[in-house]
Symmetry: C2
Subunit: 323 residues, 2 copies
């Protein structure tokens, strides 16, 4: 038996959906992974529904108290609405309680995946030590979740944390989908790195990255490894990424004076990037802020669970409101 | 008679000291201005003491409840300590309660002048409408006070708000006292603008700014006016200032998603700068954040009183702690 009440967290990704039952203290009692068919808005929502139904049909304990969803794209957490998304094609806004909660008689909360992960850090990770920290996710894109005075910063319309369009001036000729040049994201995200490598490959006919591309292995890890071997293209890409991240992080550290930067996302996994970014930050941020910054370090939370835990916190917030 | 309890706010500047008695609702009951002799730490502290003694000796009502100081330099608000300052030469830290409060049996609070002004905005200005806003002061330097979730962001060690060392890449050859090049402040503060004009004047022998310099009138207003007349040096200086402020503000708006930017400081006074910066921000910040940003506008508070009101809020915070 499981006496502790739980909520259901749902981490909605472009390729998979993670569902988990989470207690108020952050214990993951049961979790499951399900496929996402993001062909259309309808298939996407059906995928979520199927995942939820399957998970709950096998849930052996007392009914959960609420649902929480971490999703990509734009959300309105106060209204519980998934407003829109590109990666998963949501063009008509979705009232999450009406669509997913009502069949179970539960309220449903929603926020974007980076805000959700930051809430997980706040409650069960870095936030146990720090009232001011920044969660920096570098994956397909480059986004931050900001915590000040012990609370997530959502901003006036839940857009806070957009870090990828910080102007760094590194590779100032590289255009960004936002319409400007010189943004962080096309130079310093996992997705941007690969896209930029593909654009530059023809100009570097001898680069070993051609082999990586042919083998379907053109990724951040391959680029860092070839930079270590002295390949000029890989070195150019990796150096620009390090410099752009360092400059943008120094701006942010000066502005917010955080106690910690928590890094998440696949590009940090092999350990190549972090010490190099730390070095740029040490060389460029102001002494006062640096004296307060205790660490730039990976999350202590399981990367497979952080999104799910954050979604569960959204649900726990709904429960707390009702109490 | 004055039945409403008051605190004493003290705005400590490099050339003058403003002292005022302020009620809990922000009414300035009485105010005075006093000279500052900042020759040494001792003369500076004596100037403050003389100002405070004079003000309180002529105060006709019940004793105030606490003292609050807005100062330049580094402070530790939690401990009530003025840690150090360059502009007013404070090299040995000052316990404000021991030095200034004890003779009157009062506790004394302290924070830097930009945090204090931001608190005044939060309680009695922009904060009445917005839970997320940024106070941007462009004067001798370039600093911000950040409000998120309805609270001032002090950061891990009270360094939050350092905006002047945002990398903008505008005039990337201009060195900053911080040791880097490309910072906002040397290009886009009142002080930086004048310093840069002086450095560039020899290369522009025909510039009318030579006349302004000879007349002791080389300031932001003169530079903006000559830019309007097509003077190449003034145009270069003014354009760089507009672009640097616009880029740095766009970064900040993307990151924090504020409802308002409140501008303060002398360089905005003649109305030249603001519409031009607004235009750059509109062209470069992200659509989501722009849709949430209601205004970039001057403070509604009297610029002569905002620092004093903020210092009074620091004192009211001490009173509230005790209650």
């Amino acid at each position: 038996m499981n006496p502790a009440p739980v909520v259901i967290g749902v981490d909605v990704g472009g390729t998979k959906i993670a569902v988990g039952a989470v207690t108020r203290t952050g214990e993951m009692v049961q979790a499951g992974r399900y496929p996402m068919d993001r062909s259309t808005q309808q298939t996407s929502l059906t995928s979520i529904q199927v995942a939820l139904d399957d998970f709950l049909s096998s849930w052996p304990h007392a009914a959960p108290l609420a649902l929480g969803f971490g999703v990509v794209g734009r959300t309105d957490p106060a209204a519980g609405i998934w407003v829109r998304s590109m990666n998963i094609p949501i063009s008509e806004s979705v009232d999450m309680t009406a669509r997913f909660g009502a069949p179970y008689g539960l309220r449903a909360a929603v926020d974007n995946d980076v805000h959700a992960a930051t809430l997980a850090e706040l409650h069960w990770g870095a936030g146990r030590e720090a009232r001011d920290f920044v969660y920096l996710n570098v994956g397909t894109g480059t986004a931050t979740g900001i915590v000040t005075n012990g609370a997530l910063v959502r901003g006036a319309g839940n857009h806070a944390g957009e870090f990828g369009h910080t102007f760094t001036g590194v590779a100032p000729d590289v255009p960004c989908p936002c319409g400007r040049c010189g943004c962080l994201e096309p130079v310093a995200s996992g997705g941007g790195l690969i896209e930029r490598a593909r654009e530059l490959l023809p100009a570097y006919p001898d680069s070993p990255l051609h082999v990586a591309e042919q083998q379907g292995q053109l990724n951040a890890h391959a680029i860092f490894a070839q930079a270590d071997q002295g390949d000029p293209l890989a070195t150019r890409l990796a150096d620009d990424m390090v410099n752009a991240l360092g400059i943008a992080l120094a701006n942010l550290i000066n502005l917010l004076d955080p106690q910690a930067i928590v890094v998440g996302g696949g590009v940090w996994a092999d350990g190549w990037l972090l010490p190099r970014v730390q070095r740029i930050v040490q060389a460029t941020a102001l002494a006062g802020a640096l004296s307060d910054l205790e660490s730039i370090a990976p999350s202590s939370l399981d990367p497979d669970h952080v999104g799910l835990l954050g979604a569960a916190i959204l649900a726990w917030e709904v429960v707390a409101e009702r109490e």
